[in-house]
């Protein structure tokens, strides 16, 4: 399970990175980022995972004593939570910049947004 999650994380990250690097459409580049982010989230969850782990929420099913033995690591969960929100913020900002870029130069092709160079 852990290995599976790790491999999945790497595959998703690679797909995302590939999207950023190779797809010329602005929206697809941003989608690439979103996929890359998801990959990183999966990675963090994989790091927090333990064999047969349950959610670190204490209730009837999980007493304080059992938590240490069975619950997954709450730290990576907390980190992912933060990362997801930050991911949204960056994606949204990227999109709004993309809208303004297209407004200046109405094309979706990243290759053609090269007014600044050298």
């Amino acid at each position: 399970m852990t290995q599976l999650l790790y491999i999945l994380a790497f595959v998703v990250m690679a797909i995302g990175l590939w999207g950023i690097l190779s797809r010329r459409h602005l929206i697809r580049m941003i989608i690439g980022f979103s996929i890359l982010d998801t990959g990183i989230h999966i990675l963090l969850v994989a790091i927090g995972y333990r064999k047969g782990g349950t959610a670190p929420i204490l209730d009837e099913a999980l007493s304080k004593g059992e938590a240490l033995m069975n619950a997954v690591d709450p730290v990576p969960s907390a980190l992912v939570l933060t990362a997801i929100v930050i991911g949204l913020a960056v994606t949204a900002l990227m999109l709004s910049f993309a809208v303004r870029m297209v407004q200046n130069n109405p094309t979706m092709n990243a290759d053609e947004h090269k007014e600044l160079k050298w």
Binding site: L4, V11, I35, G48, P76, V80, L81, G87, T91, P106
Partner: protein, 89 residues
């Protein structure tokens, strides 16, 4: 459970690739939302319901909405500018 995760993983990978290569941007956006949504299912299985909930609501739903809104505006800008060009030509 490992098999479920494996299947979900394949779904994620396939929709991610689909999102990058499908012809229609609209489908691409939906597919990228699906990547997050399926990922959140995996999180539930991996004992992280908090993360799952966040990923579903923010990573999947809200991000997709933002993408859609932005895409709508962008496509209109591009459309009107091509119309103008046509008129000029």
């Amino acid at each position: 459970m490992i098999y479920i995760v494996a299947v979900l993983g394949i779904v994620i990978a396939v929709s991610a690739v689909f999102a990058l290569y499908t012809g229609k941007i609209l489908s691409a956006i939906i597919a990228s939302g699906a990547v997050s949504l399926v990922a959140s299912l995996i999180y539930i299985l991996a004992g992280a319901p908090d993360v799952a909930m966040t990923e579903a609501s923010i990573g999947s739903a809200l991000t997709t909405v933002v993408f859609l809104i932005a895409w709508r505006r962008i496509s209109r800008i591009v459309a009107t500018s091509t119309e103008k060009e046509d008129k000029n030509a």
